[in-house]
Structure formats: structure tokens, C-alpha cells
């Protein structure tokens, strides 16, 4: 079986699996990394949102073949390590505002939130209400308002 090597949460991993299997299933079914959730499988609900080389992406839409050994994949499990802490400031904001209800979408929401803040910063600005309107992640419990507050609060806490 073909082998696929990439960097997952800071460590090189190798998966023995067919190359057309989407990364979400390589993470969940082969490597046992279950933070990224399945909510649609077609890149719409964004419950599996993780980071590829620092940018938000949906692993359900990336064949593992597409990853090079130097590609860095960060899931919710690896987010705190990116700031060398037990929790990322965005996760702390999430806790302080008690955002989660069922919690199923929350890993994806937090990963999307961090990327949204990063993208604004790269453009030399802070996030706005308009940026919040662009976040596509579904929360079927409807916690959207607390998500908005937490993204703004997490942004304030991110260096």
C-alpha cells in the first residue's frame, strides 16, 4: 500500500493508505485523530476545518496524495502547540464566553476563527463584523452570536 508522509501537529507521520482517500478519513479512520468532525464531506459545513501550512482548509476535500512531506497539517489537537501553550488564546476566549453547546462544530469553528484573524492581520488590519459574516462554518445549535463575540475576544488576545 502506498505510503504518505506529512507533518501532523508538528510531527512527521506516515499513513499506509490509497492516495485518493481524503485527508479527513486518513486523520480519523487511519491515524485516530478525531478532533476534525464530519458534517458534510463536501467542504460546505466546515466542521473538519484544520490548517494547512497555517491556512484554513477542509481535509474532507484534499486527497492525501496531494500532501508533500513538508506540508504542515494542524488539527485542533495541535493548535495549542502553535503558541507553545496548553490552550490557544482563541480556545481560552471560547471557554470564557462558554460558546459550545453540543460542541460538535467547535473544533472547526475555532480553527476557522484563528485563520480569519490571521488573514486580517496579514492584510494589515483587525477583524470586523464583515469578516464575521464571511465565516461559513455551520453551528446547528445556533451559537453564532457567542461565536462572533469569541472571535473578537480571541483576536484581542492573539499576539
Amino acid at each position: 500500500m502506498p505510503q504518505h508522509t506529512f507533518i501532523l501537529n508538528g510531527k512527521a507521520v506516515t499513513a499506509d493508505v490509497e492516495g485518493d482517500v481524503r485527508l479527513l478519513w486518513v486523520l480519523r479512520d487511519v491515524l485516530g485523530v478525531t478532533g476534525p468532525k464530519y458534517g458534510c464531506g463536501v467542504g460546505v459545513c466546515r466542521a473538519c476545518t484544520s490548517h494547512l501550512n497555517g491556512k484554513a482548509f477542509t481535509p474532507c476535500a484534499v486527497p492525501v496524495d496531494d500532501l508533500a512531506p513538508t506540508d504542515e497539517v494542524t488539527t485542533i489537537e495541535g493548535l495549542p502547540d502553535t503558541v507553545g501553550s496548553d490552550l490557544h488564546p482563541m480556545q481560552e476566549a471560547w471557554l470564557d464566553l462558554d460558546v459550545a453547546q453540543c460542541g460538535f462544530c467547535q473544533p472547526g469553528q475555532i480553527m476557522a476563527a484563528v485563520a480569519t484573524v490571521r488573514r486580517a492581520r496579514e492584510a494589515g488590519r483587525e477583524i470586523t463584523e464583515a469578516d464575521l459574516d464571511t465565516i461559513r462554518n455551520i453551528c446547528r445549535c445556533g451559537t453564532y452570536h457567542r461565536i462572533r463575540q469569541a472571535v473578537l475576544e480571541g483576536s484581542r488576545r492573539m499576539e
Binding site: 482517500v21 481524503r22 485527508l23 479512520d29 459545513c45 486527497p63 460542541g103 459574516d133 445549535c141 445556533g142
Partner: protein, 795 residues
């Protein structure tokens, strides 16, 4: 509604509370503290119990005596609502809930309910912490496996969890506290009356301190015994009523929270079903079984009752196999049906209005509202793990009616129920879905057929197209008025049948004779138990009729209330307009209940009702009373072209709710922060079902197949301004909250739209009649290909 609980005196007893004192005088005069019966169980460490439902002592005599549907008298829901019924029905069959105190000082409680995001594990832990005087982080609440001995008392629904478990949990915790005090008195040689408890320890007058952990074994009992206890006075509450964060929040934000599909059960490989192109279609034959079995990663392919099951190493490979199957499909249960054909059936099934010809000077508002099918899909699709062996089975799934699942799966497998273990996992949302065990049933069938464990998950597209729905319905309303007074209000709600086959049906059957609706069908009973007009509208009748059982339906958050109440509040606005009254003032004047009037006043004041707004924007206001609770919602909407014409790729924008003010009174808010969260979610749901989220039925199937087609509320539909006001807790007992806000929000948003556009909306969701905002996915194969362009779409 009168409350059954006699007032309590101000005296706080901090002693052991155990049987030493004779039962206090209770009842009539409202003097004295009520005493409750709990149990201490024989166990190596302190283990206490209380009967679930024990607090519901006797059904109110009023229930038996009340006539049915006599105009101007209280309707059944005002005498004995669904919560009450669920609680009462538990009485003869209920059993014990137990709390165990371990040597590390932690208390453990297995809650016989489902946690699907509503926060009941946190609120239950708060109740234990309160009565036991234990820090909240020392209380560990887990979800109980199916416990058949609880019979009907393991159903999570009707916003009933806290209402039905509040007192039993307190009683058990109070027994534990009493035992700990007693054990400490033996150790310290102090009289038990002199001891107090605080933060997980017993304190003596001399300052000695004994932790619960070191007392746990000493407080244990050698034999089971009944114990009388008094409960803490509300004025002494330190935990209940304070805003607490969810206890599982850290697990949720770190990805550590485990849902069913995150569990690792040995050899339970991913499994999916290739489903028919029409609702409940059937498999005639499969042309390429061998070919699909040979696909990469696939271990098994087998035909089952709902389609063709594939099992493989990864779900991704299962998707590919499902797509590759060449199946000859037989017809389903809704062949050729469309929204138009269902609407026609609903018209034919509608019950007649009865108000006779109008007297002189009397006018009428006549309206008919249509509520299209909507999806109660959660973000976690239907899923379950099953490991079926020759003579036993084990199931893991989020289930709100786990005993029903256990019994029905046992029946299907030909096993005794005791041979089927059902583990209730954390649920990724419910909204009615988890009342049923569709995936668990399927998983058991597939596991039996293959002789292997399976981790079965529905594809999102199947979840929308073959999953359960909130049934399509219509509401015909006629209200008559004369000289500014409303004389009559008639509402005929007609719905595609709602499936209540999750066990509550049997529960109601056993109780139904007590009700003034004994000759009605089960659905009509549910309707009468849940529907109540908050307004005095003269002669009032609200009736349900049902048609067509060909659809996979179920209760969605609020069951009938969002639609029924939305129709009524729109008619209220129309009556106000025609009689030249202000909509808020008229509601206020006609309001039956002072608590309902108080929440209405609160949102009118906080939301600046009547403020000047730009053309194309407006406010709407509505109340809803249910589950012993009251909510009012004031919504502001923007229907101006610049807003409705917003362009977001693969999205529906439309009118935007720009602000919501919500006031809620649940009598006693155990966790106000959790209550706010429930209101927020209900508001998002109300916005969705009013404006954007419906299913289109064509040619026997639903067109929607993804979250970019079924338009649940998204960030771009979310009100930027949201204020939720929790009213002071003046009650003795917490009312329900999980579903409450949906009806109020739906009605307020619809009323705001009507006032902004000058036209009363009559078809919901509002975008349903517009041209489809998406291209439907094919029905064969039933699920779309997994995309490959993820690298190009990083953001």
C-alpha cells in the same frame, strides 16, 4: 398556573436531616418544610438514591374534573401540560437514580437522559453540588446506559429533563449530605446538629474539618434504608441560579469530546448505506456486488432493509463504494409526491371551522398559513456503532429514548432486551433526531448480517433526503372581532403525520384516560397538551388533524408550537392593524398570565418598541408560554433591497434580522448562562424556519442535499445585536427551556417581516416560493463525490 408547592418558611436546617425529627406539618397552610423520601443503598462507599418522579405527588384533581375544550375555560395544556404528564406518567414505574461519593471526595451521578448540547450534564451537576455542598468540579455526571427498569423515565424530550429530575437529584444529594454529617458526628463525637457542611467537607464547632472523601466509606450503608430529608432553602443557594460554564467546554474546544463516531470499538469499521433515489425506496437487485466488494479498502457489501450496506477501512472508501453500486430500486412511500400534492392532501384533511354566520358589525380575519417540510438534521449525522454477536449485542449511540432502542433492536435481532447493551454517547445536536434510533437499528441489522462490528454513519446528503423531517403543515385561522374586541379565535392545524413512535406513545396511552382528551388520537393529544393561546380571544378552539404517513417525520424543536404560534401572532398583528391598536398594547391587554405580560413588557422596554425605523425595516413582537416557562421576543428586520440583495457565494441571504431582544422566565433558572445559550439557539432556529430553511419535495424526494442547499441560519443571517434577559427566578422549580424560544422567535421574526413589508407572510420559509437558489444533486448515485480541490480553497 397555580403552583403546587406550599411556601416554605425561612428557617434553614443545617443538621443531618435524617429521620430523627418527625415529619413536619406540611401542605394546606403553606407552613413548614416539605419532607422527601430518599434512600441509602448498601455499598462499600456512600451510595444514595431517590425516586425519579417522586416529587410529583398526586395529579391535580383539576385535571380529572376539567371539561374538554370548553370555550373560555382553560385548555388542557393549561391544566396539565406535557411536562406534567411526563412527570406523572413516571410515577408508577419510576425507579431510582443514584449518587455515589468516592474516597477522593467526588460525587458521581449517571444521568438517565441524553446530552445533546442542551447543557443538562452541567445543570445536573450544579444541582448535586448545591444540595451536597460540594464544589462543582467535584461532581462527575455521565450519561446512563439504557436502563429498562426505568421504563418510560428515560426519555429526553418535551424540555422536561430539569423539570423532572430537579427534585429527585436534590433528594438523593440531601441524603448523601445527611449521611456524611452523621458519619462525621461519630468520628468527631460532636452532636450532628452542631455540624455544618461546606465545600466538600464537614465542619465542627471547634473548627475540625473532615473531607467527604475520608467520610465516604464510613457513611456507606450495610443495608438499604429509606431516609427522610429536608431540602436546602432557596435563600441558601450558592450554585443553583449562578451563571456557570459548561463542564464539558474544555473537552469541546480541544477536540477531546467524544461523539459516537470518535469512539474506538475494536473492528468496528466504517459503514455506510447506499440509499434509494426516492423516500423509503427499496432494493430490487444489485448488479455489481462482487465488483464493489473488490474496491480498495472495502471489506463487505450486503443488502439490508434500507439499502445496500458497504463496510470498509475508511468512510471515504465507503462513499466511493456507495457511488459505484448499480442498484435496481423499487418504489418508496411517497412516489411522485411534491409540495403541491401534499398541500392538496392537507386541504382535504382540514377540519371545518364552526363559527356561524357573523352578527351585524362583526368582521373576521381569515388566513391560511403553509409551513413547508423542514429538516431536524443535526450537524452530527445519524450514526451508531453496533457489535452484534450470536447471543448478545452492544450499541453505542446518542439516544433520547434508549430503552425503546434497546427493546426494538432486541426484537429485531430476536434477543431478549437484557442481552442488548445500549450505551448513550454524547450527541452532536438533536433537534428531535435523537428521539429515534434509526442509525442504531440499521447498524444492528448490518452487524448481524455481516457477523462483524460496524461504525455506521449516514452521509449528509442522505441525512437531508431520507432523514426525518418536521412535517409540512397548514394552519387555517379565523378570528372575529367587533368594536375593537376579539370575539372568537379558531385555528385548524393540519399536518403530515408526526411520528411519535419513540416510546412516548405508550407512555401517553397509559396516562391518556386521565385527560380530558381521552377519545382523541395520540397526535391530537400531543397537540392539546402543548398548544395554548396566551391571549384571551373569546371563544377559542385550536384543533389538529393529520394526513399521510408516507414520510419520515418526527418532532422538531417545539413540535407544533413554532408554526401554530407564528400563525396566531401574525393574526394578532392583523387584528391590531384593523382595529387601530398598537400590536404590543393589544397583546398586553389580552394577555392571560402576568408572567407572560412581564416578559412582554421587558422586551418592549429593552427593545424600545415603537421606535422610529426606516422604511423597509420594522420590529415584531411575540410571546410564547410552554413547559411552565415564558418567553418574549422582539425582533428587528431589514427587508431593504440593499440587504436582501447581498451576494454571498452558494448562500441565501435575504432579509436580515438585525436585532433580537429576548426575555425569558423559567421560574427558576438553574444555570442562567446555559439558559441564555438555549434561548440563543432557539432564536437561530426561529430565524431559520421563518426565513430560509425548508425542504422542497419533488417527484418523491427532497431536493436539498447539503448545508449550502438547506439554508439553516449562518453567520450572514445572524442578528449582529442580541440581548437575552433572564427574568428573576421567583419560582420554586425550573420550567423547561430547550425548545421554548423557537416559537417566540419564529413569530416575532414573521411579524417583523409583515410590518416591514406591509404584507402578512403566509408561506414559510419565506424563500420557499422563490426560484431554487441551488442546483439539486443527482439522486443516483445518492451521494456526491468527495471533492478534490481542497488545496485550492485554503483561506
Amino acid at each position: 398556573m397555580p403552583r403546587r408547592h406550599p411556601a416554605r418558611d425561612d428557617h434553614h436546617t443545617s443538621g443531618s436531616g435524617e429521620g430523627a425529627t418527625p415529619p413536619a406539618a406540611t401542605g394546606e397552610a403553606g407552613i413548614g418544610r416539605r419532607r422527601f423520601l430518599g434512600y441509602v443503598l448498601a455499598a462499600p462507599t456512600l451510595t444514595v438514591a431517590a425516586q425519579l418522579g417522586a416529587e410529583a405527588l398526586v395529579p391535580r384533581q383539576a385535571a380529572a374534573a376539567a371539561p374538554a375544550l370548553i370555550p373560555s375555560l382553560p385548555g388542557p395544556a393549561e391544566i396539565l401540560d406535557l411536562n406534567e404528564l411526563l412527570t406523572l406518567a413516571a410515577l408508577p414505574t419510576s425507579n431510582l437514580i443514584t449518587i455515589r461519593v468516592d474516597s477522593d471526595g467526588t460525587a458521581h451521578f449517571a444521568l438517565p437522559r441524553a446530552e445533546v448540547g442542551q447543557g443538562v450534564t452541567t445543570s445536573s451537576a450544579m444541582i448535586v453540588a448545591e444540595e451536597l455542598d460540594l464544589p462543582l468540579d467535584k461532581v462527575k455526571v455521565t450519561l446512563a446506559d439504557a436502563r429498562p427498569e426505568l421504563l418510560f423515565n428515560q426519555l429526553t424530550g418535551g424540555s422536561n429533563t430539569t423539570y423532572s429530575t430537579y427534585t429527585p437529584i436534590r433528594v438523593a444529594a440531601a441524603v448523601a449530605r445527611g449521611r456524611l454529617l452523621h458519619a462525621a458526628s461519630l468520628v468527631l463525637g460532636d452532636a450532628v446538629e452542631t455540624l455544618t457542611t461546606k465545600a466538600g467537607a464537614v465542619l465542627s464547632p471547634a473548627g475540625a474539618l473532615l473531607g467527604y472523601g475520608e467520610l465516604a466509606a464510613k457513611a456507606a450503608a450495610l443495608t438499604n434504608a429509606a431516609v427522610e430529608v429536608e431540602l436546602k432553602d432557596r435563600s441558601d443557594f450558592r450554585v443553583v441560579g449562578t451563571a456557570q460554564r459548561r463542564l464539558d467546554a474544555l473537552d469541546a474546544v480541544t477536540g477531546r469530546k467524544k461523539f459516537a463516531m470518535d469512539l474506538q470499538v475494536p473492528d468496528a469499521l466504517p459503514t455506510m448505506i447506499c440509499r434509494p433515489p426516492t423516500i423509503n425506496g427499496t432494493v430490487r437487485s444489485v448488479a455489481n456486488l462482487a465488483e464493489v466488494r473488490a474496491m480498495p479498502g472495502i471489506t463487505d457489501v450486503v443488502t439490508v432493509s434500507t439499502g445496500v450496506a458497504v463496510r470498509g477501512r475508511t468512510f471515504g472508501q465507503c462513499v466511493d463504494a456507495v457511488r459505484a453500486l448499480d442498484v435496481d430500486w423499487g418504489p418508496g412511500t411517497a412516489e411522485g409526491a411534491s409540495d403541491a400534492t401534499v398541500l392538496e392532501k392537507l386541504r382535504r384533511a382540514e377540519l371545518p371551522l364552526v363559527v356561524p354566520a357573523l352578527p351585524l358589525l362583526t368582521k373576521a380575519v381569515d388566513a391560511r398559513f403553509t409551513f413547508h417540510f423542514s429538516s431536524n438534521a443535526a450537524l452530527e449525522t445519524n450514526c451508531a456503532i453496533a457489535d452484534v454477536r450470536e447471543d448478545s449485542a452492544e450499541i453505542w449511540a446518542s439516544l433520547k429514548a434508549p430503552i425503546v432502542a434497546q427493546e426494538q433492536i432486541a426484537l429485531k435481532l430476536g434477543l431478549p432486551p437484557t442481552a442488548v447493551r445500549v450505551h448513550v454517547t454524547e450527541g452532536g445536536g438533536s433537534f428531535g433526531r435523537k428521539l429515534f434510533h434509526d442509525a442504531a437499528h440499521e447498524a444492528a441489522e448490518v452487524s448481524r448480517a455481516l457477523g462483524k462490528p460496524v461504525k455506521l454513519m449516514w452521509h449528509r446528503t442522505d441525512d437531508f433526503r431520507q432523514g426525518r423531517t418536521h412535517p409540512m403543515s397548514t394552519s387555517r385561522v379565523r378570528a372575529t372581532y367587533s368594536l375593537g374586541e376579539v370575539l372568537t379565535y379558531e385555528q385548524r392545524h393540519t399536518s403530515v403525520a408526526t411520528d411519535f413512535g419513540h416510546g412516548i406513545g405508550e407512555l401517553l396511552t397509559s396516562e391518556v384516560a386521565r385527560l380530558p382528551v381521552a377519545d382523541a388520537t395520540f397526535s391530537q393529544t400531543m397537540f392539546q397538551l402543548t398548544q395554548v393561546s396566551p391571549y384571551h380571544l373569546g371563544v377559542t378552539t385550536q384543533l389538529l388533524s393529520e394526513t399521510d404517513k408516507g414520510y419520515n417525520t418526527g418532532s422538531m424543536r417545539g413540535i407544533y408550537s413554532p408554526n401554530v404560534r407564528c400563525a396566531q401572532e401574525l393574526v394578532m398583528d392583523e387584528l391590531a392593524r384593523r382595529t387601530g391598536q398598537d400590536g404590543y398594547a393589544m397583546r398586553r391587554k389580552l394577555m392571560k398570565d402576568s408572567r407572560a405580560r412581564a416578559v412582554l413588557d421587558k422586551v418592549a422596554q429593552a427593545g424600545e418598541w415603537g421606535r422610529t425605523m426606516a422604511p423597509g425595516t420594522a420590529q415584531g413582537i411575540a410571546v410564547h408560554a410552554e413547559y411552565h416557562s415564558f418567553v418574549a421576543v422582539l425582533a428587528e428586520i431589514d427587508c431593504r433591497p440593499a440587504t436582501t440583495g447581498r451576494k454571498i457565494p452558494n448562500a441565501y441571504t435575504g432579509p436580515r434580522v438585525t436585532k433580537v431582544v429576548c426575555a425569558v422566565d423559567v421560574g427558576l433558572a438553574v444555570n442562567p448562562r446555559g439558559l441564555e445559550a438555549q434561548m440563543m439557539g432557539g432564536i437561530s432556529d426561529g430565524i431559520a424556519i421563518t426565513l430560509t430553511s425548508g425542504l422542497h419535495l419533488r417527484d418523491g424526494h427532497f431536493l436539498e442535499g447539503s448545508w449550502d442547499q438547506y439554508f439553516y441560519t449562518r453567520q450572514w443571517n445572524t442578528p449582529p445585536e442580541l440581548e437575552i434577559i433572564v427574568m428573576p427566578s421567583n419560582g420554586e422549580k425550573p420550567g423547561g427551556a430547550g425548545e421554548l424560544a423557537v416559537a417566540g422567535a419564529m413569530a416575532a421574526v414573521a411579524c417583523a417581516y409583515g410590518r416591514a413589508t406591509g404584507t402578512m407572510p403566509t408561506v414559510f420559509p419565506l424563500n420557499h416560493a422563490e426560484p431554487l437558489a441551488f442546483t439539486p444533486l443527482p439522486t443516483v448515485p445518492p451521494v456526491p463525490a468527495s471533492p478534490t480541490d481542497g488545496r485550492d480553497r485554503t483561506i
